[in-house]
């Protein structure tokens, strides 16, 4: 499956950068506008999936890509757990405490630890969905 026509390939090459940017925007502004770690992560995964669909299966060296994306995912969620349990280690005996200063609501750096949680969840969700999609695609072509 050599992917789609040349027009689709060029358009997606341009488009997926924008989609990726939009996903990062949604993740970073999770505490200000609707959306957040989950929605933004899925949009970022969508931009990669767009590339794989448009440029056909061989575009990524798929098996290596799948391993890397599941590694990314494990790292993302492990940092999320470390952050959540961070309070326990720094002698604040409470799981999931909002440690950082809360700042004035409405600005970008405002909700304490919430934006950092959002970033880690965004990474984890994006890598997870990419791994799922690649697993399905690899299983169909190889078998």
């Amino acid at each position: 499956m050599k992917g789609m026509t040349i027009i689709v390939k060029n358009v997606t090459a341009l488009l997926s950068g924008l989609v990726f940017l939009y996903g990062c925007y949604i993740v970073l502004h999770g505490h200000l506008t609707p959306g957040g770690g989950f929605a933004g992560g899925i949009i970022i995964a969508g931009s990669f999936i767009l590339l794989v669909i448009a440029n056909g299966i061989h575009y990524f060296r798929l098996n290596k890509e799948k391993e890397e994306s599941s590694l990314f995912e494990g790292a993302g969620i492990f940092c999320f757990l470390l952050l959540a349990a961070g309070g326990l280690l720094l002698a604040v005996p409470v799981f999931f405490k909002n440690l950082l200063p809360v700042g004035t609501p409405g600005e970008l750096f405002s909700a304490g630890i919430i934006p950092i949680y959002n970033i880690f969840i965004g990474v984890e969700v994006a890598a997870a969905l990419l791994s799922i999609f690649l697993a399905f695609v690899i299983f169909k072509t190889e078998d």
């Binding site: 494990g74 969620i77 757990l81 349990a85 409470v94 799981f95 999931f96 405490k97």
Partner: protein
């Protein structure tokens, strides 16, 4: 001391996330990681059980204090019952983790197996410890999704089909539970179990509580494989890898099914006559029909799976009897006795049923077949497996020195004292049929001398599989000591009092 409580979630989750990351570097250590993690959790659980003792410790996640006594954040509850469940879950998890190291060697993708295994235990720890309804649903989904994938781990025809059937029925059950949570939130506006109990007790006696309870019984009953919803259990447990079916049948249907029903129906709702009759009939039905289905089986693991249904029926009947007595306002001493018998039998069943599944796994590992007709004369070829299997069979069919006998005895005594003579009679008959069915297993697998040629090369399983079996057999004997007054108070009566404290 309080900050030990979230460790029950952090350690298994940390291990589960680390294993895929570090599998390439240190596969040897990663294999032992889940078992050592659960060993540490068992020690913490014992320590906390003595620390908690009679009272209840609520741990507020995120440090959100209740605002004019309406709880805001999620509360983790550590009391007698949840600590006992944690001890049982983590002991069986450690044993199955050790057993699966040589067993899973012949599959590829071991890092996925160990990661999913510790995720399943993390989910069960999460379910047992939460005091919040939606959190219970989330962690229930974590352990159930991990068990769907683990049932289909061997990806043969039967395992895939069994896992699909298990997943569809499990999915329907989860949606029934989510629907009952939505109705609870609509009725009470809050999700903390203690808070919901407060609102329902002060609220009007409408049929809303009964409607919610019916959907909860349907949802959790399907997770606990009670009779009207048991269709998935024999296929899922017989085609899963053996350490996984030991975990599924030994702990998963308890920590998610029966424990959730007991916790929610005793603490959250006030016990009415209708619900207690529903629970008792489900319990008696699964007790009787489970064992009748089990007689005709010739596949070892399928037979054990049907027996799980009937043993879970014992626990539900005991709980049902306690609920009827409380609903009718009888003396709570008999209700406490019935509940103590039910809980004691649940803990015992975890020990001997998972040991039986490990034995079946050991026999399958060395001979390659589970069909009783083809097996024979394993006693002299596999001494350790046959001894532990004999111990487990005696304890499940209730022969005195073993723990099964005492818990069934307490249930029958409570049934007689509560003037449920029919239930007591049925319990005795079912126990006799269980004895007959397990003698059949012993005879065909271990004692029958006529051995087919193919089985000559069968030899004893490696040490890492024998160790858990020996420890579990000793556990089966040791748990009958739980009736001695000294030990009984900390282990058993704390759990019973937490359930009954809300009523008295």
């Amino acid at each position: 001391m309080d900050s030990l409580i979230p460790l029950f979630i952090i350690i298994p989750l940390g291990i589960a996330f680390l294993i895929p990351l570090t599998w390439r570097l240190i596969p040897g250590i990663c294999r032992f990681l889940p078992s050592t993690g659960m060993l540490a959790l068992v020690v913490i659980a014992f320590f906390l059980l003595f620390y908690v003792g009679e009272g209840v410790v609520t741990y507020k996640v995120g440090g959100w204090e209740p605002m004019d006594n309406i709880p805001i954040g999620i509360h983790l509850v550590a009391d007698g019952l949840s600590m006992m469940m944690l001890i049982i879950v983590n002991i069986i998890g450690m044993m199955a983790g050790l057993f699966s190291i040589p067993y899973i060697n012949k599959y590829t993708g071991e890092n996925y197996y160990y990661s999913l295994f510790s995720l399943m235990v993390a989910g069960m720890n999460g379910v047992v410890m939460t005091g919040d309804l939606f959190n219970l649903f989330v962690f229930l989904e974590v352990s159930v999704i991990a068990s769907y994938a683990l049932v289909a781990f061997g990806t043969s025809k039967y395992e895939l089909e069994a896992s699909f059937k298990y997943q569809v029925l499990g999915g329907i059950a989860s949606l029934f539970i989510l629907f009952s949570l939505a109705m609870t939130y609509w009725y009470t506006g809050t999700l903390n179990i203690a808070d919901v109990a407060q609102v329902i007790r002060s609220g009007s006696e409408g049929s809303t509580a009964l409607f919610i309870q019916l959907f909860m019984v349907a949802g959790f009953g399907l997770k606990a494989a009670m009779i009207p919803f048991h269709a998935w259990l024999p296929d899922a447990h017989s085609s899963a890898p053996s350490p996984i079916s030991a975990m599924l049948s030994g702990v998963l249907i308890k920590a998610i099914g029966v424990y959730a029903i007991l916790r929610l129906f005793f603490t959250m709702f006030n016990i009415t006559i209708e619900i207690s009759y529903v629970i008792t009939t489900i319990g008696v039905l699964s007790m009787v029909v489970g064992v009748l289905l089990a007689i005709g089986q010739w596949d070892m693991k399928r037979l054990l799976a049907y027996h799980s249904i009937s043993q879970m029926g014992y626990v539900m009947t005991a709980a049902g009897i306690a609920m009827i007595i409380i609903a009718k306002g009888g003396e709570t001493r008999v209700a406490a006795l019935a509940l103590a018998g039910g809980l004691f039998h649940m803990f015992n069943h975890a020990a001997f049923k998972s040991l039986l599944f490990l034995n079946a796994g050991a026999v399958e590992y060395s001979t390659g077949t589970r069909n009783l007709k083809e097996l024979g004369g394993m006693a002299d070829l596999m001494p350790i497996t046959s001894i532990t299997s004999m111990g487990a069979s005696m304890s499940i069919s209730g022969i005195p020195p073993f723990n099964g006998f005492f818990s069934k005895l307490i249930i029958i005594i409570a049934a007689v004292q509560g003037r449920f003579y029919l239930i007591a009679l049925l319990a005795v008959i079912v126990s006799i049929i269980t004895l007959a069915s397990f003698m059949k297993v012993q005879r065909y697998v271990f004692l029958d001398k006529t051995r087919t040629q193919k089985l000559e090369d069968a030899r004893e399983v490696p040490f890492l599989m024998c160790l858990p079996m020996i420890i579990m057999a000793i556990l089966c004997l040791a748990m009958s000591l739980m009736l001695i007054p000294g030990i009984r108070d900390t282990f058993l009566l704390n759990a019973v009092n937490t359930l009954l404290s809300v009523i008295s």
